[in-house]
């Protein structure tokens, strides 16, 4: 069974005919060809597939594409400026907060939403806010630092 949906993805309106069993992750990767969103556990645990739906992080692997109807979706491609990087992304690079890079798009989007909710979070608040994104390389310390640094510089 198919259904037509209309949504805004990274600022651009999209009208799509989706299967009702299709996930938002599949639509983003396979139809819109936005490969920055990663498929990890496919069970809503690891956060690699995180996208923002109306500004809030969501695991797109367990979010049906039909639910995107009328919503605004931001993927890592939408977060990244046409040239260069956002301050958050640059701080991930500078702090060595990315190794294999698989978790990074999800990390960046969750961190972005976290900083919008709470411009000046404590370390504990960052750890709590990032709990739905797993990283198997860095040990998290550099990621926390990159987010802390972004917050500090933005508040300045």
């Amino acid at each position: 069974m198919n259904r037509d949906i209309k949504c805004i993805v990274n600022g651009r309106e999209r009208v799509l005919c989706v299967n009702v069993g299709e996930t938002l992750l599949e639509v983003i990767r396979d139809r819109l060809n936005l490969k920055g969103t990663k498929k990890g556990c496919e069970a809503g645990e690891c956060g690699a597939c995180t996208v923002l739906v109306d500004g809030r992080p969501v695991d797109s692997c367990i979010f049906l594409a039909v639910w995107a109807d009328g919503r605004e979706i931001t993927t890592i491609e939408g977060h990244t400026p046409a040239e260069g990087l956002t301050d958050l992304q640059q701080n991930f690079v500078d702090e060595g907060a990315t190794q294999c890079g698989f978790c990074t798009p999800g990390m960046i989007l969750t961190a972005q939403a976290l900083l919008e909710d709470n411009a000046n979070p404590t370390e504990q608040e960052i750890r709590y806010g990032m709990a739905g994104n797993f990283c198997r390389c860095t040990g998290y310390q550099a990621i926390i630092k990159a987010i802390e640094k972004t917050a500090t510089n933005r508040v300045k």
Binding site: M1, G21, T23, A43, G47, V53, A113
Partner: protein, 289 residues
């Protein structure tokens, strides 16, 4: 890709109920964070989904008279950020804070957390302690049931054919005399399912005696449960270490935990004894603060 043969998005409860009467095998879906995972595991050929997302009136939190009403589609993130919840039933915010991670809390609903019947649901002990009433809409219209009667068995709840949970009603109590607390015990602080959850609601009278008390447990039996013997014992007593100890012993006797890979029966029994005392102590401490 999930195997979904038919997907239906009614715009009213009446329409949803009529549809469920015609298609009793249709699965009601809210946030989907539990149901979709189960669908991925047990591939079912004739899966029909009925989504509640387009039904208006299921998403709000509002106060009316002496009650707080929480729509069944309210997400855990909504509970965490609602000033009404914080003010009237802080314990539900505490429970929501413990649920999974941000991505799940943005999508998962309180209604789904109850209706899937999970014994580990974080919202269940909190709502049992708050003595919540469930507004259930069905072919005969609205019926109101105590959350205590809602859980029938493992993953089994009292939703009859074509019935849908509409809202959760929480009676407002006098915070200068009563308070509540919830403790979740798990290996990790986030993204984990409880080994044991315990919520306590305590009211003290002018003589500092326990006037009302409700002790509720999650993951301590096939369903979330109240510890009635411990509650009855506590009424009329002053809080002391001895009284708390006896309450813990009674609660541990009433609980029927099982051994799973997450924790043994013995550990869970120990946790009931310990956490029931701690939850009561903290709830009593918070009174009037």
């Amino acid at each position: 890709m999930y195997t979904v043969d038919y997907y239906m998005e009614p715009s009213s409860l009446d329409e949803a109920v009529q549809y469920l009467q015609k298609q009793p095998h249709a699965k009601v879906i809210a946030g989907g964070t539990d149901l979709l995972l189960r669908m991925a595991k047990n591939k079912n050929d004739n899966m029909t989904l009925l989504s509640l997302k387009k039904i208006s009136g299921l998403t709000g939190i509002h106060q009316e008279g002496e009650s707080l009403f929480i729509g069944s589609l309210v997400t855990f993130h909504d509970l965490q950020t609602s000033s009404l919840v914080k003010e009237i039933c802080d314990v539900l915010k505490t429970a929501a804070d413990y649920v999974a991670g941000p991505q799940i809390r943005n999508v998962a609903t309180i209604g789904g957390n109850l209706c899937n019947g999970a014994p580990s649901a974080d919202s269940a002990p909190a709502l049992l302690a708050l003595d919540a009433r469930l507004h259930i809409y069905g072919p005969q219209g609205l019926r109101i049931a105590s959350i205590e009667d809602f859980y029938l068995g493992p993953k089994k709840v009292d939703l009859q054919s074509a019935e849908i949970l509409q809202a959760i009603e929480i009676p407002i109590t006098d915070s200068s005399r009563c308070n509540t607390h919830y403790i979740k015990y798990s290996v990790r602080k986030t993204m984990d399912i409880s080994m044991l959850g315990c919520a306590a609601f305590v009211c003290m009278d002018q003589d500092e005696q326990i006037e009302k008390i409700r002790i509720a447990l999650g993951t301590a039996a096939p369903t979330p449960m109240r510890c009635k013997a411990a509650e009855n014992f506590a009424i009329g007593k002053k809080l002391s270490s001895n009284v708390l100890y006896d309450i813990g012993e009674l609660a541990a006797k009433e609980a029927k935990p099982r051994t799973s890979w997450r924790a043994s029966e013995e550990l869970r029994t120990y946790l009931v004894r310990e956490l029931s005392q701690r939850a009561i102590r903290v709830a009593a401490y918070k009174i009037g603060r």
